[in-house]
Symmetry: C2
Subunit: 291 residues, 2 copies
């Protein structure tokens, strides 16, 4: 199944036989005090800088979140989306838990957005899916419901089925529902990652829909997070994950592109070799330009 997202003039297709879709996680004030303060004051310069840097580092899409306590989130999200769309031409994942913010975001988005996110909770489904349908967007569905985050892959699959089913009721096709199998930190539960990997395999085998998760969650609270994330992503890709909201810092992007090649999604390593040659040429140029 292919999920098609669009920016002003670019298209990104997420699918099981395609290169992995890297969604930059950085434009999010959660846990970024200075950034949150800037946004409160209407300073969007970091949004522009983060958008540009992440796309240069290899992001295929960007997540944009405006969740700051006591802020007019719909208005802020609109400003941030306009800023990102002016800076880069990649599809956006509009990220909010506030319905009015999602609606405001969709109203200014130019293209086909990914809405982040709905859950299997009745109320969320009833509120968010009509919006997704109205704007012809795609949606991320978190595999949890009213009872919280299921511990077993089977129960997460059940939540995923509920979401795909409800989406269908609103005329949203299965290929426009991307399931989040939920990645928790291994620092709090030694089985967190194996459960996530088993959930990914199960959803791939039983539902066949695209999947996306917040990859950095797995390393929360641990040292050398990027190294842990870079080790996690290839595992998740081999299990069937097709996209992630993730850091574009080294070594995360190279790990994903390497896994694309290893899993046969970069035939004969054409992209891998081209990227290597471009890096070599850039180094050569730098060396020549040096005084």
């Amino acid at each position: 199944m292919d999920t098609v997202l669009r920016s002003r003039s670019n298209t990104v297709t997420i699918g099981a036989d395609r290169p992995f879709c890297i969604i930059g996680e950085r434009i999010n004030p959660t846990g970024r005090k200075a950034f949150a303060e800037q946004l409160r004051e209407g300073d969007l310069s970091t949004v522009t800088a983060d958008a540009t840097a992440q796309v240069q580092a290899g992001a295929d899409m960007l997540d944009v979140n405006a969740g700051i306590p006591l802020v007019d989130e719909p208005e802020l999200l609109k400003s941030m989306l306009r800023t990102v769309q002016d800076a880069v031409d990649v599809p956006i994942c509009i990220d909010s838990s506030v319905i009015s913010a999602l609606e405001a975001g969709l109203s200014v988005y130019e293209g086909r957005a990914l809405v982040n996110s709905v859950t299997a909770e009745d109320e969320r489904l009833e509120e968010i899916l009509p919006l997704v349908a109205q704007y012809g967007a795609a949606v991320i569905g978190l595999a949890n419901d009213e009872t919280g985050i299921p511990e077993t892959p089977e129960k997460r699959l059940e939540c995923a089925r509920v979401i795909v089913g409800a989406a269908g009721d609103y005329g949203i096709a299965p290929e426009d529902v991307i399931i989040d199998p939920l990645a928790m930190t291994v620092g709090a539960d030694t089985e967190a990652v194996t459960t996530t990997l088993a959930t990914i395999s199960l959803i791939r085998d039983k539902l066949g829909v695209n999947m996306c998760l917040g990859a950095s969650n797995v390393s929360f609270g641990l040292p050398q997070r990027h190294v842990l994330n870079a080790s996690f992503l290839p595992m998740a890709m081999a299990a069937g994950l097709t996209s992630a909201i993730m850091s574009t810092a080294d070594p995360c992007v190279p790990a994903v592109r390497a896994a694309d090649l290893l899993l046969g999604h970069d035939a004969w390593g054409a992209s891998w070799i081209a990227a290597h040659r471009a890096r070599q040429a850039a180094l050569q140029e730098e060396a020549t330009a040096a005084p």
Copy 2:
């Protein structure tokens, strides 16, 4: 199943619920012209240096191979094994396709060695397994037979069954047979890695024995080989691989130790955090020592 290997005074146990066993690949003259020339001239200084460096970089065991055309391989392998055993105290994988070299190697080895390797070919089984039994060693069994390298996971499983069965006939327990599911380069076959991963899962589910492969094979002929290897290893570990003959260069070892943590084989990240603190302390010391 646990495979127990020993050096003079150290023990390494390979098993599905344990940290991955890293076997340093470097002490092998194949494709190393200068090293081969040194060995021909009886200069073993690089053997000592490579042994020390690989163990410092995180190798749990070392592979030792003396395969140089027109050289007295049994004599050279003995010298190399003596040199390695004097340099480091980790178990060794005695690597040769020549029976007399394996026998010579086993005769000077102090501990419980891993013999690399037998195949499912009748003649190899009949020649090598008695030696393994006689010396109380463990053995790597390559999942191929007289007809070559099987294309399908099912046929590789069949080869593995033949080897485990034949080993039993010589009194070698299943836990002392480590199956090599065979890793080929993805540069020559885009399905090489997915076939290897499927083989690993299948052997884990059906036989439950330990597995080991030459991890660097997957990236042969491609640029940025270490990055590809570091992406491959976590995938293979998640599928059930329990050891590899591999490069100890960055980022391979960190990728493996990260995968240990993610897969729940480094409870609460104790080893990961300890390694991080040791690195921090070393950096601190360097900074303090600087003039």
